[in-house]
Symmetry: C2
Subunit: 234 residues, 2 copies
Amino acid sequence: MLKYQQIANEIELYIENQQMQQGEKLPVLESLIRKFDTSKSTIIKALDLLEKKGLIFQVRGSGIFVRRKKRKNYINLLSNQGFQKDLEEFNITSEVLELDICKPTEAVAQNLQIDMNQDVYYVKRIRYIEEETLCLEESYYNKAIIPYLNKEIVTESIFQYIEDGLGLKVGFSDMYMQIGKLTEQEANYLKLKNSEPKLIMESIFYLTNGTPFDYSMVTYNYNQSQFYILGTGI
Amino acid sequence: MLKYQQIANEIELYIENQQMQQGEKLPVLESLIRKFDTSKSTIIKALDLLEKKGLIFQVRGSGIFVRRKKRKNYINLLSNQGFQKDLEEFNITSEVLELDICKPTEAVAQNLQIDMNQDVYYVKRIRYIEEETLCLEESYYNKAIIPYLNKEIVTESIFQYIEDGLGLKVGFSDMYMQIGKLTEQEANYLKLKNSEPKLIMESIFYLTNGTPFDYSMVTYNYNQSQFYILGTGI
DNA sequence: CAGTGGTCTAGACCACACA
DNA sequence: GTGTGGTCTAGACCACTGC
């Protein structure tokens, strides 16, 4: 592991262990440099990482302060880990409705940047939180990149398999959201009523080298879906 | 302006002018270093900025590539600029329904980290896009920080006034989203029907020094609201 | 004006991609 | 193996905050 990641982890642990609250000040740069026996740039890089994660904010001329989100049980829209981590206190399960190899539609082919005669995996799942429906998910995976999936993998965390099992690295993602009304079919799956509210999230996930491998459409149950974003200013 | 910001801007312009597409490769680091007559670290810092904005992605051992979102007319959830910039092709207007100085409720006081006897500005607006209702917004501003607002300021961009008029710097934000059904009153404001879908976005905006100055609740018209996030991996 | 964080540099060395 | 991006360092100098 890189030095600045290591340092970032240690500082994160420190904040956690000291139970530091929003606005509390961390040790000054100079003392962090001595403590971790490293250069200024490396410490700053570690702090930038924590700032990006929304754990601290840095104020020039003043200090480094803890930032602490207060609400629990919200899903982080910026995390590439899915919501497993945000909802780890809850029992999240998946019911696999379909798992097929097929040819992509034009929209899917375009989003995955492949030809329409290349194979894709199609996965349809319902995800539950504590026995309640959380969302209906339809995903397409580029089979040239994800050569094999089975029901077991797909019932557990697909992304974990991709990273740990296949040794691929997830890089970035494009996400598009909109609000609408459930169709009758969607309502059935989610055990809700026709034309009740829904949130649709379309995502395209890319490997670190920029290749898209997953295109997903997720329809959330409006009763269960709360999201947060820790903005850092652009 | 800082050198690395300047360089980032120039590279951004270059991408724009060359009409570079997703996946196209930028000049290699070495040539950027020579072109901008600067050090490696400074170029990398500029590129990191562009990566954070979702404009490029960097692949170690391979190159620097353009990333280009394809969909227009979606609102960027990570921008601190509001949606003026994303929807600049459209005519966005505001109707001010209320503008008062009052005492905060407990929830407002807590989010703004002030006492309940301190004054806040309360602003209620409807925002329109091309004559259609876009959202209903209720905002509270800490009067100790924003000492004066009038109808004219509030009809235009409040954030622009805060930055340019007052010389304050917006730092970061906490945002919370959920989906629900419109109340009758909300439906009237948005010219929709009772119990149709809504997206509620609660935001707390902080200055760079960590002081919260704005707490807002925005209810979006589900017909008009599309959002995007360019994730960069955390 | 002291304290603190940020920028910028030059260069050594490292890690990954791709042919 | 070559090309390319990334990490890390030591240090000079800069810019903002708050007493």
